[in-house]
């Protein structure tokens, strides 16, 4: 075998070993949970044996020696001479760590020797991902997987976004120069559809299942429980839930913190549990699920719960008034720095960081965190994050001489500034929102840009429990913005989250709600007796479940955000067939559907719903770009309850139609 051949086999071995070691780690943890399970023991034995053989073939003596020693220990297990115990699993995991280190060493060293010398190349320009000891070359993998550098995917996403923007510009040109309605040109619509598909699929390339990081959490739970003398069963549900790799990575430290917290501060020692009438073994559950364009990851334990009175007394000692807070509100104070859920400070859960850091890092992923806890029963932390950081639904406003985008998830409401319900105090004006005064400043004034005082609508933003109103010149509309970081060249600006590109090619600055509120608050005196913060949220004004059916991602998300802000629960489907499947699984109150869609169109969907007895009560609202009377008639004949034209589409019109349909059924 020539040196070159051997080298390529060693790279193959590296890939193989990585997979086998991951499987072995998982099997070891399963073995601990299952006890003397012959099937698992046999599987472990098989994996180790194969690894030993492969290592020997490519000449990695140390790796194969280590595997051999492990194999001998496993032999005793297989023959039943020694029972499965936590000590044995400890030893097994340690041996696997050792094998993994030896493999990395062997592969790294050998590759360098053959002439690639990756260790001698200064690695300044490319930030390498979390120390992959083994880096297979970008080529085809045996499982039909190609490894692609992340930058290349981002480049692809950028270009797809640029193509979609160019397409919109062409549409505008057709209308302005030739007077042609783009939606009426089949070729143009076809391209829209394809670009939409392309955009959605491209975004998906960055998505990974939550399961890619749960093994690491399982291992942390297990090791910590062993150290602290707890018995803990670990469970994962919804591990196949996908979200953006960047978001997941940003969350990994927070999740690690939360599960360690659950072991350390949540689950009691076995004696204490038994005394409290619980089984000696505690449970920690990680449950991931997708809700609309968000992913919820809940970490739940059945331990002692958080002692709210302790949280209150700790907070009071820091000078925080807690008398007016309900227990649930007081509980949220655990995210304040300096407060802890622990009875005494230990270094275990936090590795020196507290829940305030968790909240900050979840915030950085544009998410939020909530906690619920019942004394004696357990605690649940919920992380709610957007599926992708790439596309952000925004409200675009005009202020000064340019447009700004405000992230939709921070917008409470936007409305005209009616003189009737504004109040003034200490040179600031305020509006009444849900019975509470909310202070209002000029947006451009807050940004320090020269301007005349605006007289347009007020947009109320919320960040944490703080609300603040910003007056702008005009509301421009809602838009999904592909948000980009401003890069390393510019300093971090608190009020700016990033920037995107408008369809007309101009750069659109995306503002950060928390930074804006902070800055507005600092730039003037606060009214002494009417703080704008409000922990009391308005009750959702509307209720009902709506299924939004549209093949365009943007349209779906836009409608979702409008409806959700109005208080409806929203589910999504990308064509008629998918919608029908979703409806059979779980009925909804109203279906809002597009007409032109692949597989089954809106008319077909309406007819199918009407012919299904179980869905007789489901209202159907068709939203179409076809304005012809024939189409409207056809929609009514199919059994639709309402028909809205997209070009006449506005937020208010949509909500009015939905309210009418749901109200009349009420």
């Amino acid at each position: 075998m020539s040196i070159l051949d051997l080298e390529s086999f060693r790279v193959l071995f590296a890939q193989e070993a990585e997979g086998r070691l991951a499987t072995l780690g998982q099997l070891a943890l399963e073995l601990e949970a299952a006890g003397n399970d012959e099937g698992i023991i046999a599987a472990i034995f098989r994996e180790v044996h194969t690894l030993k053989g492969s290592a020997a073939v490519v000449g990695f003596g140390e790796v194969s020696g280590c595997a051999h020693r492990l194999e001998q220990r496993l032999e005793a297990l297989r023959s039943g001479a020694s029972p499965v115990s936590s000590e044995l699993v400890d030893a097994l995991l340690q041996a696997l760590d050792e094998l993994s280190a030896l493999t990395a060493q062997a592969v790294g060293g050998e590759v360098a020797e053959v002439g690639l010398k990756p260790l001698t190349i200064p690695t300044v320009s490319l930030p390498s991902p979390a120390a992959p000891a083994v880096r297979p070359p970008a080529g085809t993998h045996d499982a039909g997987v190609v490894m692609v550098p992340l930058e290349r995917l981002d480049e692809l996403i950028r270009l797809v976004g640029e193509s979609a923007a160019a397409h919109l510009r062409v549409g505008r040109l057709l209308w302005e120069r030739l007077g042609l309605e783009p939606a009426g040109i089949p070729e143009f619509s076809e391209l829209s559809r394809t670009l939409n598909d392309l955009q959605e699929r491209t975004m998906r390339t960055r998505m990974v299942p939550v399961a890619t990081m749960t093994d690491q959490l399982h291992r942390a739970v297990r090791d910590l429980a062993r150290t602290l003398g707890r018995e803990v069963a670990w469970e994962v549900r919804g591990g196949d839930t996908e979200l953006d790799r960047g978001v997941l990575r940003q969350l990994s430290d927070s999740l690690l913190h939360l599960v360690r917290n659950a072991v350390d501060h949540g689950v009691e020692i076995p004696e204490e549990r038994v005394a409290a009438g619980k089984p000696p073994q505690g449970n920690i559950l990680l449950h991931a699920m997708q809700l609309g364009s968000e992913v919820v990851i809940a970490v739940t334990d059945d331990g002692r719960g958080i002692d709210v009175s302790r949280v209150r007394s700790q907070a009071e000692r820091q000078g925080i008034e807690t008398a007016g807070l309900s227990d649930e509100e007081a509980l949220q104070l655990v995210f304040r720095s300096g407060l802890s859920t622990a009875h005494f400070v230990s270094d275990v859960s936090g590795r020196g960081v507290g829940l305030d850091v968790v909240e900050a890092s979840v915030g950085a992923a544009r998410g939020r965190i909530e906690v619920r806890s019942v004394a004696g029963k357990g605690t649940e932390f919920r992380l709610i994050v957007p599926i992708s950081l790439a596309v952000l639904p925004c409200l675009v406003v005009a202020a000064g001489d340019q447009h700004f985008a405000l992230p939709m998830h921070s917008v409470i409401l936007a409305r005209a500034d009616h003189a009737g319900d504004t109040a003034h105090a200490e040179e600031r004006s305020a509006v009444w929102i849900g019975g509470m005064p909310v202070v209002v400043s000029s947006l451009v004034g807050t940004l320090g840009m020269p301007s005349t005082p605006p007289a347009g609508p007020v947009v109320i933003l919320e960040s944490g429990a703080r609300r603040y109103g910003f007056q702008v010149d005009a509301l421009v509309g809602q838009r999904d913005v592909v948000v980009k970081d401003l890069g390393q060249l510019l300093p971090r600006l608190g009020v700016v989250q990033g920037a995107g590109v408008d369809p007309d090619g101009a750069v659109l600055v995306v503002l950060d709600a928390s930074g804006l509120i902070e800055r507005a608050w600092q730039s003037g005196p606060a009214p002494a007796d009417s703080p704008p913060t409000s922990a009391v949220r308005e009750p959702p004004p509307a209720s009902g479940v709506i299924l939004v059916v549209d093949d365009a991602l943007t349209v779906r998300e836009l409608q979702r955000s409008i409806l959700e802000r109005a208080g409806y629960r929203v589910r999504l489907a990308s064509d008629g067939t998918e919608a029908l499947a979703a409806l059979i699984g779980e009925p909804v109150d109203l279906v809002l559907t597009d007409v032109e869609m692949p597989r089954l169109d809106g008319f077909g969907l309406t007819e199918a719903i009407r012919s299904h007895p179980a869905m007789a009560n489901t209202a159907v609202l068709i939203l179409s770009s076809r304005a012809s009377d024939e189409d409207r008639v056809r929609g009514m004949e199919a059994g639709a309850d309402g028909y809205i034209i997209k070009s006449a589409f506005d937020e208010r019109g949509l909500l009015t139609a939905v309210e009418q349909l749901l109200g009349s059924r009420g």
């Binding site: 320090g448 890069g487 390393q488 510019l490 600006l493 009020v495 090619g505 750069v507």
Partner: protein, 138 residues
């Protein structure tokens, strides 16, 4: 820039564009003139003389887009940037982030060190790019 000639190595220049459509970046340092779109990439336009600690540029009919390890940046210029071969070095230069003075035809050009100009500015922390300013960027 104004009456002065400055040079950047050709291989560091990505493109030359004519007065791009500019979006102001609120709360940014004054020497960030704004952001513009270069084929889907968002590029900051920088006030070149201000970067070197000289007086602010009055207007910017042209922009040279340069590459650096920190990303793309637009350097504002008052006249059309043209390719030229630098002659003999004729002496050192005084401004920060420059690498000597060269003869070009009958004129003098100061060679800019892009990495130092951009990277240096962002590394120095309390200087230039890293210092937020309250004023608008127009």
């Amino acid at each position: 820039m104004g009456p002065d000639l400055y040079a950047v190595p050709m291989d560091g220049v990505r493109k030359v564009v004519r007065a791009p459509l500019l979006t102001k970046l609120p709360t940014a340092p004054a020497l960030v003139l704004g952001l513009f779109n270069l084929r889907g990439e968002i590029v900051p336009l920088l006030d070149t003389p201000a970067l070197m600690g000289l007086s602010r540029i009055p207007d910017w009919p042209f922009v040279a887009v340069v590459r650096s390890s920190l990303g793309l940046a637009g350097l504002a210029a008052t006249a059309f940037p043209e390719p030229a071969a630098l002659g003999e070095p004729v002496g050192p230069s005084e401004s920060p982030a420059t690498a000597g003075t060269y003869a070009v035809g009958g004129r003098l050009a100061v060679l800019l060190d892009i990495e130092e100009l951009l990277g240096g500015a962002s590394r120095r922390g309390n200087h230039l790019l890293a210092r937020p300013s309250m004023q608008g960027t127009g």
